[in-house]
Each structure stands twice: as structure tokens, then as C-alpha cells.
Symmetry: C3
Subunit: 644 residues, 3 copies
């Protein structure tokens, strides 16, 4: 794995650049991302270009053998361009213009902005496409950040109408597919169809879902336009830096066009901002949730045929979460090695130096704004040396996959049917429970090949792909479905035939307040589930029951079906049974410990504040790094015993 | 009482209709509501009509002796009509257009929409007005749903100015009535008066109140236009389906123009969505609050001279509350019989079959979307058989009435003066406390005749009608007033003479946080009140005092006055004293039991999860249904002993 | 100290005026504010004036020897004026017009409204400028109320661009100062710069800060236009009535142009509406927070060279807080004497009589709307008699000052960096802790002379004025800085040199959830801090440490630095140490007791519900009022022993 950093030479006097490059190299950094957000410095007014600074920056970095990741600057069109073409700006859901003055101020459906995006990309590629120091190109920055996938502009409306016409061909198809006879929503022409905002009550869910699909597609096509230009001029790797918690476009679709997927990992910010409990937010405030970065590592790895990296790694406190603590000593090292263990090719720290002005001035860098070195930078040097000792980091073949699907997220967001329902949270709870059984997981889409897994877990899958059950049977892959699986068609209707119909009967479902725990008796112990239940009838299939007699968990020959949102204890119990049955070896881990297997190595990570003894799970005397007692926020690495 | 269902033949293939009608009849259903929301199917484009399907639907249903309730389709003007006349759309408080794409997308003040409403009503009546199978007409659907009574459109502004001119004749009267000298709010002409939204701080409360009155009047006059057309063509009963918790227009005024008032009863949704405590929401999540449906039964019964029904009865889980559980077994039956006990002529289930598309696809029907029968439908069949055994369901004359007044609600919403204040909740707490004393209640407006009641309770009545005290004295009707009664004039001013002035002095009032309990010593026990108190001085009248010496409850010869928001225990104590004094017999009930008297029968309902013994309140061996131990969610019915 | 009241003769029939004036005089009132909000009565339409009523009101009041405070009526431009010049109206942050219908409906940047403001002020001054009965003029009313300092109108945008041009001269300076190279925010011209609302994510903090400064300047210049006209026609004192909790313009800057600063003190409303804990809101619901009024007394006293008063004193329940209790008996007297003890020249009650119409009809007056006398009025009479006994109320020279700075508030609002951070609350907690040590405090700006104080406390001071440390050293004034002090430049950048750099090193800072308490061991006791910490490195300076070894409190020779948000116990401990060291005498007070020293007297106030014994802190037998046991909500006054 290579180390890198995000650098903005235009923020600093040229006189500092050479020493910066020298210091980077000394810390073990080999790649540097530049050019991001620099449009106003490249082209301060229409067709007046300033290249000298950028040429010089490339030269200076290259002098120290640093390779460049160059960015297209399209996340921040400059003011003169907005003034020239005001329609670039997106409109929010209340139809207000999202003004210039920060970043990502563009609508993906603006044809004129598409033209400008291609123009500036072409210009950059013409100049630097063949530069041997540039090993990679990043398109734009964090698509979707600040809720920018959707726009309610007139251009988006026109584009959406066209997209619908292509999809449905004639309006009768659309009316039927959306069920527009309901509430007299029938359209006579595609031109009559508006964006689904500001309706009196909720819009037709099929209408909303198509708008979400369209909006996602617009991101992909915007990106593809840049990708095509880059490919035409350069052989370097193409990437984009995705984010955590972002689900507003289909990242699998984006990944298809990239050579290598990257993402921006901010464990402390994500924890503080997210759905974790108050207790968890306090417990892990300096380490982040033990599974959050891992979840995204495992997700994005499978978005781009296994090639992936961390483009921005938090190096200290950030500026954007509700609370912004400093990481515990050791965490920058730990986060980096966690990425390595999951197969990252690359880990880059954001940012090289804290910028003393602008919106992110309270965001830490490897160096502070007065150029003092940080704890984070010291740990980078240490990581660099550890990585030197680890020869192979080849990814292992995992036995277990978790199915995570963007359209499922959109569907269940549009009609959650219960306030407590949260698709992403449910998936994360399944993931964390599997990880606490010591398993290494792949996260896959419903389109991925499942035949190589012993177990594929779909925490909720409203639309069951036609061949999924069949394919699993052929491959002898066990499927575990969570609640609401099979409850919808891809047109956002209730299917006329329930996909599990041969086996059991889906009666109805109900959403419940979290306090309305449902009892389940399993192996003579009482467990609880909460907030959702599919009410099911089944005859002749083995099942675990709710206390009122309805099946909670169905053991079919080919698959298992869990009809409720489980508590941690219930899910752990169910997964222990299941993995045992199909011959997957598990190790129950402390809440602060996680392990990850590469092809040859096992990594153990301690996210807690206390020394923990892992000697029970490790062979003696084989440690490559650390030992059988892991320090607070420490790491141990050993060679995996092959006959495990 | 007759049973019915809400049916949308246009959602289903014609091939299913006959069997549907057959099954309805078999379940005991005799009336079917159709046509609602069907404008785009009746008139897919201007003046092109499709009648065949509707003719066929009527014929098919009639073949099975089902009677039709036909709806005007004005709650959902189709897209071609909106495109032709965009001004139909209402504007929200932020002056944003409330777009097409769901339902109720019209402004009551749009003259052009009024014209369209009359046009389509005329067309429907011309076709079906004399059809003998249509026994009833429903106007529109749920006026006020999705906060649609108010609109801030230019048309509403013009109409409001005209309404004010009619009311005040000249601008000096308005300025004086509103007190516009305050903050230089004086107007020179009616045309200067805007709608009271988007002001820098709150608008003049008199301005806001007149806007609420105007908005309510617009609903009534919109409805009257349809009623007049229906009456001109048909002798069938005219109704409208109101909702629970809706107070944005005056339902007494609406009821005056109808033959029979109906409402839509969703006990689980209302509980989950409403003001109940977390504990209550958990306790009754599968049964609904024992008094919520009853409150609306008793309210709407008195809106239309005693004729009323339930147009939409929840048959399973709904889709629109924060959490949507499935009803406990037995509840559909219980809810239906509770309506019968309150004198409903009609109970209709919404909907016949769950629709697999559109916004309400997660709303249960008597049959699910795959046409499997539900628990609800089984209970309908059972109810039908029970109803056959009950000969008379004539409404009893009740001794106690509760006064509920829409303008009072508006006034106290406009200036609650304390965050905890909630007029509707206060009325509901009085109602539930009276019900838990075993009483059968009428809910009446301040304009109703009070002379037939022994006791009339006004939980809060800011404007005391001129003759109320006098009328009560003549009729020997005891009045109990709650806090803030008499505090305002109908012009939204503080009255120059306090209506109770002869008797006691209103000093001032104060709103308090709920935790600031005020102590009251009554019969040597300590009670508490909360969140509001009128500070009063009285001499020579018997009263119960707060611990600081101010009167909390005044016993006047003609009326009682409660100066605070009571806790349940305090109110129960006060009402027990009062009813005893004036000779009303009470029976203290368990929190899960409610009883209701018709002229000849007594019904007891168990809203709880456990068997309850009611033998103390029932004569032996007289049960028509059930017995002295009521099952969970069960009902017992017995002949009332006359010399009770 | 003189007593006054706020009177609106136009709200009442002329026949009442004479008796009102007679009663005022009898209660001890000597000054009456009139004319506020009366534009529509003075000028009901363009250039048609009604003076008779106002002339008569002045004459009637003067007959009873009442002096007049006359107001400009510009807080409520009448409807005809808005219709004539619609651009007067401000726009809110969502760019919506803030409509006519309440008050303060104008944009400070409307040039046409400026013209109207000058016109009506000139007209009033031409008529009454030389009237000997008018001893004071109040400009407008409560600048900033209802969030009216900022406006997002096109006029505000133009004015902002001009303001920037004056400040920065050329666009390069602005780009550099704002750091616009970040995110390609660079501008080519001043005309390109928009107001910082509706950006996709937060605007550049330097942009936002300049907008806050500009908006504050607009208030000052609006006010100055009126002040200049008043001065040109009159020798009376000029004032404006400020509010509590209002920080959106710089009150020090406003005070500079006034002769006497006044403010509107509503202790119960401020408590209920503010940041106090639930416990405090309950405990002091009838007395107000013991330090809230005092804080503003001490603040506003130093805004206008020591001359100040209370223009509106709460006399009973108000109408605008979430909950509005009645004051405890005695509190109107106590609040008045607290003002006197802090050096107020004037205390005026709002309002003479409760108005029965309009927005404030639920706001108490000294008389209720039916003209019954209130508890408040009885206390006014009592206060008047007490004040007669107190000869001198000369302000003492205080040893301790607290630094409160408006631009600091704006900076830390714009980028709080942690949800819990609240500059005003932090300052208030320092203030209350100092007051509970029995100290009398001055509140000063960073521009004030600090040389007369032994101790100056800056709870947080992001921008340290250049000479502050030097001046303190020369004057032997001890400085205590709180967290984040010195962290920014006035351009909203991180300073290239940390101001305390010679002494200690600022590493980084972190914001924490309140539950993440940090331990501090001091004098062998454990204390806690919360929600913020500056992480610091220092060598060779005495310091108190966090449990993880970082300095929490630095004792420098010239100043102390507290690197965290302290709990009350921690701050008390630190301040006890510090005051002892520099020879400031303290007296630890019960949470309900506060004392205040004038030059000759000591006042003690009991904000609690129980009698408290203060004999330990008072010399025997010297009481001018009260005694060594203070009644609930009572006051004691004694001659201060000089050799204290």
C-alpha cells in the first residue's frame, strides 16, 4: 500500500513548496493529489489561463520523486463562469437557487455546465495528459456532498422528462407502471410530468423512485463525460473520491467506469454525525466506530473490481461534525493499517497542512497552519515503516458477503412505513454483528456473482432479482434475507406474486415504536426484536416463533428469512447458529476488537482505551507486529495459520 | 347499522368486479362508496368522457343488491385541468405553490376551480342523479387533509378582502375591531389588507382569527355549491367524510348543509400521531385510545341533527402514522360496535382491497393486494351477524354534554400564551375523565340547546355567548367552565366587562411549564394542576384553593369555574363531587374499560390486553352478547335496567 | 433614580388621560415615554398630520409634572407608506419578503426608508424639539428585535458591496483577506459579491463576518441619522431602548452616539426563553435568573459612558416566552432596586396599562386592561418611597471587569466548531461565578481602558488587541483569558503568529460532547471541564493539568489562561485562587443571594423562596432597609464599611 497526501500548492507561497515536497518524501509519502478546486487559479477569467504555478508545482513535487494525482476542478466553477451562465446553479427542494459562495454549486442537468466541464477537462488533459509524473486523475470531488445529487431546476425537469420517455416509450406505460389511476394522477404526455417536490402530500413513490434513479444516472453520465476525455488523452488510472454515508447515487454504477475507487474516511466525524447511540458516541469519540471505515472499505472494494484506496484519511480533528474531538494517539496509524488489511492500494491524508483561511480552517492537517508537525504526521512515518515489513497484502477470498443496494435504500427512504426504519442502519448492524464474529466480509450488490460465497446476507432486499434464489441453489450459497425482502417490484408496486410464495405466505407487515419489543424464544432463551415485523404464515417449514406464534425466522432448505429488525443479541444468536450449520468458523470478539484476514496475514485492531488480551485467538510467537496483548488503540499482525 | 366499504373499481380489472361484489354481500356489506378520486378516468381530457366503466361498476354492484355512495371527484383535479388553469393550485404559508402530484391540490378561493367543481358535479348528477341504486352522495374527500383549508394565493387574498368588506362595511370598523392603532397597523382601504403570513413577528390576532374564519367559510361555501347541485338533481342523502383531529374548519357549519355527517376513523394512526404520552402509545398501540373514536362519534353525531356514520374504518395497519402496527384481533369488531353504540347509521371499511401501487400501497384493506382475506374482513362478517341480533340501537338522551368549539380552538392556537396549552387536548382530557366515570356524553357547540342536559362542561370557552348563563339558569343546567373561559370577545379583544364579574374577579393568568405543579388541597388530599392558571379573587363564594390561597375552583350557585389545567386525579375528584351534587350517577371504570348506553342497551368495551371482570356493573343473566368477564379487546352487551 | 412608565395615549379615550397622569404621579412616577409606534396616528396618510391628540397628551401629562420621553415612530411605518415604497420591506435569509402586519418591517439598507426616517424625525423635531416638557428622545424601538438587523434585500446587497469597496479598496485585498483562493472563491469585481445566504454549504467565514459587521454598521448609521436631526433641534438627552440577549449589532458602537443607554428588562421572559437548565427555569420561574438583568445592567452601563437606565421593566407576566408565569410578590420592587444598585438613572415600567387588543394583549401592565391596579403597581409605589430614603446611589469603582465583545460573538457563531459552544453563555457563566463570589463587576469591550481594574476576565477573546498584554502589564492589571483566546485574526484567519507564542504553544483544539467530561486535579480535588479544550504545550510555566497531562490552566506572570470550558465548581475554584493571589476580597454567596456595592451602600437581594440569613456578611445595626434575614424575594441595604 502506498501513502499519499492532499496538497494545495496555490494556498502557500512558492517558497514553501520544495521543503513541503522534501518533508513528504521523508515521511514515506509517494503520491500527492493536487489541482482540486483550483479553477479560479487556472482560469481566472474566460480563456485566460495561468499555468506557471501548476507546472512549477508538478516539477517541484516530481523532483522529490512524488507522483501526482491530478484533479479536474469542476466541483468549484468560478464566479465569472456563474455570472456568465447563471443556470449552472442547482435549485433546492423548495425551488430556491443554491448560490455561489462555497462549493458544488452546479446542477448535473445543466447542459451548459456539462459543456464547461468537458471544456476544462479537455484543456487540462491537453496540457498534462501525457505528463509521466501524473499517475492518476481524480474527477471532480465528492459527488453528492451537501446533498447535491438532486436538483429541482427547470433543466432537471426537462432532462427527467426525456429520461422517462426513453424508459417508458409511451405515456400509457408510465401511467400503468406508476399506478397513476390512483388519485387521478394520470398524465397525457411526458411534458406534463413535474419533479416530485412541493406536492400537497407525498408524491407517488414510483415517481419519486424514478427521480432518484434519474438523479443518480445524471451523476454517472456527468462523470463519464470526464472519464471519456481523460481516457482519450491519458493512460493513467482514473478515480473519484467518494464519501462515507453517501447513498444518493449508485456507487456500483460509478465504480464501473473508474479504474480504481477511492473514498474519504473521517471516522470521528462520521461517528459523531451518525446514528450511533450517545453511549457509542462517547465511548469511541477518539477512535471512531470500529466498523464504520471497514464497512466502506468492504463496500468500495467491490465497486471497482477490487481496486480501491482511501483518498482522504482524517489526520486529526475535523471541522464539520457536531463535536470534533482529537483522535486518540495511535488512531491515524490504526486507521491506515485497517485500510491496508482490507486491501487498499493507497492511503492519502487530508490535508498536508491546515489552511489558515476559508471554510475549513479548523480542519487539522498533518502539519498545522503554523507548520508545526502533528501527532498524525508522526504516525504516518511509523506506518510507512510498518508497511515496509509487510510483504504481501493480497486480499483474501471471503466466505461471507453482505448485500448492500442503493435502489433498495431509495425505495425504503421514500416510503419507510415506520419512523424507526433505516435501511443503511440495518445493513450496518448486520455488518457489525458479522464482524464481531471475527469474519472478514465482502459487500456486494445484487448484480454481483454470489457463487463464490458460502453465505450471502441481505439485511433487506425489497426487490429480489429473478435468478437469485436459483443461482444460490446451484452454487450451494446460503442466503439469509432480512425483513421486507421481496416486498416490492422494481416499479415500486407490491408484486402480484410474492417471491417466496411456494414456501411461506406474507400476510402483512407492521412498524412499531422501538419500545414495543417483540419476544422471541430461541433455545430456551428470550430474545427481542424491535420496530418492524413481517407477519407471515408458513406450514411445514422449520421456524423460530414470536411469542404470539407468528414465525420470526424461517429455516428453508435454500435460504433463511428473518422477519423482523433484530436486537444485537438476537442477531448474534441467529448468525452463530447459521454459520455453524454451514461450516463457517467464527470467533466472538470483544466490542473493541476487530480482526481482518488478508490472504496471508491476520490483523487485530483495538478500538478501546484498555489493553486487551487476544492470546486465545493467536498462535504463539508468530507476530509480525505487536503481540498477544494489544495496547489501547493498538494493532497486532500475525501470519495466518493455513489450516485454520 | 349498515356496513359498507370503499371500493375503487378503476384500480382493478373488470373481471374481478363481480366476484368482489359477491364477496361484499356475503360479508354482510350493503353499501359501497365509489367514484372518489376518479376524475381522470371519468374525463381523461376536457369534455371527453368515459362512462362505460362507471356504468358497468354500478350495474355490477347493484346486481348483488349493493347500494352505491357516489362521490364527486373534486379532491383530485387531473393534470390537464391544472395545466389549463394553473391558478387552481393553492399556495402554502411560505407562498410556494403546492404542486400537482398527490391530492387536494386546489385553493378554495379559486373562482375558476369553483366553476370546474360545479361543472363536474353537474355532469355527474345529470348522469346519475336519478339512479335508484345511488342512495347517497359524498362531496369531495376529507376537506382540510394535508393542511389544505388555508391557502395564501392571490385569489385567497382578494376573497379575504371581500369577506372583510362584507363583515365590517367600512375600514374604520375593521381598524377599531382589530385594534389597529396598536403598532400603527391602521388601514385606509380593504384592498391594503394582506393575508397574515410572513409578517416580521406574529400578525394581529384579530387579523389571524378573521383569516381562519374566512378560510373555514370558504370550505363551507365550496361544499354548498356541490350540495345545491346534488339537491337539484337527486333525493339521495348528502354527506361528506370528515377526519379525526381536524379543526381547521367549523364542522358544525359543514354539518348544517348535509343530511348525514360521516367521518374517517383510524384509531391506531390517530394514537401514534397524536398528543398521547409514550406510555399510552405503547399500551394502546394495537387498540387505539379508548376515547379517541368515541370523542369524534359524539362530536359528529351532533353536527348533523343526529344522523351520522363512519365512512372509513381502519381495517388493519395504515401507512401514514409514525409507526403503523397491526390491530389486535377483535379490534375491527370492537371499533364497529363502538360506533353502533354511539348511534352510527353506517360503518364502512376503507378499503376493500389493498392497492398495490400509488401512495397508499402500504395501507391495509379487507383483502390484501393479492386478494387474500384479512383478519379485519373475518371480523366484519362477525359484526354483521352480531348486528342482526341487536334490534334497536336508538340513541339515548344523555345527561352530560361537553362543549367543543372551533373558533375557540383557532383563538387559542393563534395566541396560546403558553407552549403547553392545547385546546383540543384539554377538551379531550375532560372527555376521557367523564367517560371513565361511566358517562355517555354529547359533544355540542355553544349554539346548541343546553336545556336538555343536567351538566354542560366547557373545558375552555374564551367567548361566553351572551345568553348562556341565563339559559342555563332557566333550564337548571349546571355549567362547568374551565380556564380562560370568558377571557376574550369575539373580536379577539379582552372584554371590557368580565362575564363573571358580578361573582368573582379575574386578576390575570399565567402559563407554566408542566413541571411547575401547583398544589391544591381538597378533602384533605393533595392534588395537582399544571401549565395554566387564572389568578382570581373572589369574596363570599365557596371555593377550593391553591396552596398560595388563590381560588382554584369556584362553586357558584349557577355554575362552577375551574381556574387551571387539572391533572387526571384532580379532575376526576372534582367531577365526582359535582356529579354527585347534581344527581348524575357515575361508575368509575378501569382505564381499559369504557361503557356506552343506547336507549335500551349498555355496551362495555375492553381496550386492554387482559380479561376484565365487569360483573359489579351488570345485572346477572341479561347479556345479549359477551358476559361479565370481557375478553381482551372484547365486548359485552346487555339490556339496560330502566330504574338505574 | 427616577421612575417612569411607557404610555400609549392613542390606545385610550382622551377622557382617561388626566386620571392616568394623576395616578402616575401619585405612584411616584416622574417620566413617561410616549409616541412609540404611533406613525399611523401622526400621519394617517402622506403629509396629512394629526397633532391634536399628541399635543393634548403632552399637555395633560405635563399638567401633573410628568416629563416626556418622546419616540421617533420609525419601528412601524404605516401601510400607506409601504404601499407607496414596497422596497422598504426586508427580505429574510430565504429571500422571502417580510410583510407588513406587525412591526420592524423595514430594511436598514433601504435608501428610501432612510429618507422617510429622516423626514418623520425632522417633522417631529420641528414640532416638539424645543418643548420644555420633553426631556428625552428615544430613537425607534429595540433595534434587532425579531431578527431584523440582517436583511437579504437587493438594497442590502448593493450597500454591502459598497461597504466592502470602502473597506478593501481593491478586489485583490479582499480576495487575500478572505482567503478566496480556497474553493475558487476569488472575485474579479466587488459587484460579483453576493450576500452570504443560500450557499450550498456554509459561506466563507470571512464573508459572513464582514456581512455581520456591515449589518451592525447599518443599524448604527440609521440611528445616527436620527440622532443628528434630534441634536440639531433639541438639547434633550438622546437614548435608544436595547434588549436582553441581543447581540446582532455592536451595542458599544450604538452607545457612543447616545447620551444615555437604556434597555428593556424582562427577567421572567428571558429566563424561560434562554439557555438555562430545566432546573433553573423551574427554580427561578417567578424571580428570573439572579444574574441576567445584572449582566445587562453592567454591560449597558459601560456602553454610554456610565449613563444608563431601564426603559421597559417587566411589571407582571409577559406574552412572548414559551411559558409566562406571574412574578413572585416583591420581584418588581427587587428588580427596580437591583437596577438602582447598578447605577441606573431611570427605571420605567412597560406598560402603564395592559392593552386589550393587538399582539400584546396578554402582556401585563401596572394596571390591567380593566384598569384594576396590579401587584406590580403597588410595588412601584413602595420602591418610590424606598428610593426617597437612599441619598446617594453613586456607582462604585469596581476592581473586576469582564470583557464582552460583539464581533467575538459573531465569529464564534459563524464557526462554533462544536455544537455546545455558545460565546454568550460562556461569558454569562463567568459573570455569574464572579457574582457568586460577592463581586461587583463592570462589563467592558476590548477597546475600553483596563488600567483601572485589578482583574480583567476575557471568557473568550479570539482576536487579542495588539496592545492588550502590554497595557495590562503597565497597569498591573491581571488578565484571565478563556479558551479560544488569540485563535483568530480580525480577518477571520488563523494568525501566523500565536499571540501567546513566547510563553506557550497552541497545538490544536477540540470540541466535545457535554458528557465527555475532562478531569482536572487541583489541590488534590477532582474537577471537571466540558465541551471544549485547547490543547497546549508549555514548558517552564506553572500550570494545572488535565488528567492526560496537557495544561488546563496556565499561570503566567502577566496573565492566566484557561484552556477549557469549566464547570461551575472548577471555575469557582480557579477564581478563588486568582482573586486571593491578587488581593481581591470575595464572599461566597448562596445561589439565591446576590450583593451589589454602590460607592456608599451595599445591596443584598434574595432571589429565592426562603428566608436567608446574611448576618455573616453584614455589620450589625447599619441597615437602611431590611435586615440580616432577608425575606423571600426581599432586599437588604446597608452602609458599606469603608475599610472592608
Amino acid at each position: 500500500m502506498k501513502l499519499g497526501t492532499c496538497y494545495y500548492p496555490e494556498h502557500w507561497p512558492e517558497s514553501m513548496w520544495d521543503n513541503d515536497a522534501y518533508t513528504m518524501a521523508k515521511l514515506g509519502i509517494t503520491q500527492v493529489r493536487i489541482g482540486e478546486f483550483s479553477w479560479s487559479r487556472i482560469e481566472p477569467s474566460r480563456n485566460k489561463f495561468q499555468w506557471a504555478w501548476l507546472d512549477k508545482a508538478i516539477t517541484t513535487l516530481s523532483k522529490h520523486n512524488l507522483k501526482i494525482i491530478m484533479c479536474t476542478p469542476t466541483a468549484t466553477p468560478p464566479k465569472w463562469l456563474i455570472d456568465e451562465i447563471p443556470e449552472i446553479l442547482a435549485l433546492n427542494e423548495a425551488n430556491q437557487t443554491r448560490k455561489f459562495g462555497s462549493r458544488r454549486h452546479y446542477c448535473f442537468s445543466s447542459k451548459n455546465y456539462r459543456k464547461e466541464s468537458r471544456r476544462i477537462t479537455n484543456i487540462l488533459l491537453n496540457r498534462y495528459g501525457k505528463n509521466p509524473n501524473i499517475i492518476s486523475w481524480q474527477t471532480d470531488n465528492e459527488y453528492g456532498c451537501h446533498n447535491t445529487v438532486v436538483s429541482f431546476s427547470p433543466m432537471a425537469e426537462k432532462a427527467f422528462q426525456k429520461w422517462l420517455q426513453v424508459k417508458y416509450i409511451n405515456i400509457e406505460n408510465l401511467n400503468k407502471s406508476w399506478g397513476n389511476v390512483f388519485w387521478s394522477q394520470e398524465y397525457n404526455t411526458f411534458e406534463q410530468i413535474l419533479l416530485p417536490n412541493n406536492t400537497v402530500t407525498e408524491a407517488n413513490p414510483a415517481h419519486s423512485l424514478d427521480f432518484r434513479r434519474f438523479s443518480s444516472d445524471q451523476v454517472i453520465s456527468f462523470n463519464n463525460e470526464q472519464v471519456n476525455i481523460i481516457r482519450a488523452h491519458s493512460d493513467s488510472l482514473i478515480t473519484h473520491n467518494c464519501m462515507g454515508h453517501f447513498t444518493s447515487f449508485d456507487h456500483y454504477a460509478l465504480g464501473e467506469s473508474l479504474d480504481i475507487m477511492t473514498w474519504d474516511s473521517y471516522p470521528l466525524g462520521f461517528l459523531d454525525q451518525g446514528w450511533s447511540t450517545e453511549k457509542e458516541k462517547l465511548q469511541w469519540m477518539r477512535s471512531g466506530h470500529p466498523d464504520f471505515a471497514a464497512f466502506h472499505h468492504d463496500l468500495y472494494r467491490n465497486c471497482s473490481k477490487g481496486r480501491w484506496g482511501v483518498m482522504e484519511q482524517q489526520p486529526g480533528a475535523v471541522n464539520w461534525a457536531p463535536n470534533n474531538p482529537t483522535p486518540a494517539n495511535g488512531m491515524v496509524k490504526l486507521w491506515t493499517l485497517e485500510a491496508a488489511a482490507h486491501g487498499a492500494e493507497y492511503c492519502s491524508y487530508f490535508r498536508w497542512r491546515q489552511v489558515p483561511f476559508g471554510q475549513e480552517q479548523n480542519h487539522a492537517g498533518l502539519f498545522d497552519s503554523r507548520n508545526e508537525i502533528s501527532q498524525g504526521a508522526l504516525e504516518v512515518a511509523e506506518v510507512s515503516s510498518i508497511l515496509g515489513k509487510l510483504k504481501s497484502l493480497e486480499t483474501a477470498s471471503n466466505e461471507v458477503a453482505l448485500m448492500f443496494d442503493y435502489p433498495s435504500k431509495w425505495m425504503l427512504d421514500i416510503q419507510p412505513q415506520g419512523n424507526e426504519w433505516n435501511y443503511e442502519k440495518l445493513c450496518f448492524e448486520f455488518y457489525t454483528t458479522l464482524r464481531r464474529l471475527g469474519l472478514s466480509i465482502d459487500i456486494i450488490s445484487p448484480d454481483h456473482d454470489i457463487s463464490k460465497y458460502k453465505l450471502v446476507v441481505a439485511p433487506s432486499l425489497p426487490v429480489i432479482p429473478i435468478n437469485l434464489l436459483q443461482n444460490a441453489k446451484i452454487a450451494n450459497t446460503k442466503l439469509l434475507f432480512g425483513p421486507r425482502s421481496g416486498s416490492k417490484t422494481s416499479e415500486y408496486q407490491i408484486p402480484p406474486e410474492y417471491p417466496f410464495n411456494r414456501d411461506f405466505q406474507f400476510i402483512k407487515s407492521e412498524s412499531l415504536r422501538d419500545s414495543a419489543s417483540l419476544k422471541i424464544n430461541m433455545n430456551d432463551k428470550i430474545y427481542y426484536s424491535k420496530n418492524w415485523r413481517d407477519i407471515i404464515e408458513c406450514k411445514g417449514i422449520n421456524n423460530i416463533k414470536f411469542s404470539d406464534g407468528h414465525p420470526a425466522y424461517i429455516h428453508h432448505v435454500d435460504y433463511d428469512y428473518l422477519a423482523t429488525w433484530p436486537t444485537y443479541e438476537l442477531l448474534k444468536g441467529l448468525l452463530l447458529n447459521l454459520t455453524k450449520k454451514i461450516g463457517i468458523k467464527t470467533t466472538c470478539l470483544d466490542e473493541n476488537i476487530r480482526i481482518r484476514h488478508t490472504k496471508d496475514l491476520t490483523f487485530a485492531f483495538n478500538y478501546g482505551d484498555e489493553i486487551l488480551d487476544i492470546s486465545k485467538m493467536t498462535p504463539e510467537n508468530k507476530f509480525i507486529y505487536g503481540g498477544s496483548k494489544i495496547d489501547p488503540h493498538g494493532i497486532s499482525i500475525w501470519k495466518t495459520q493455513k489450516n485454520k
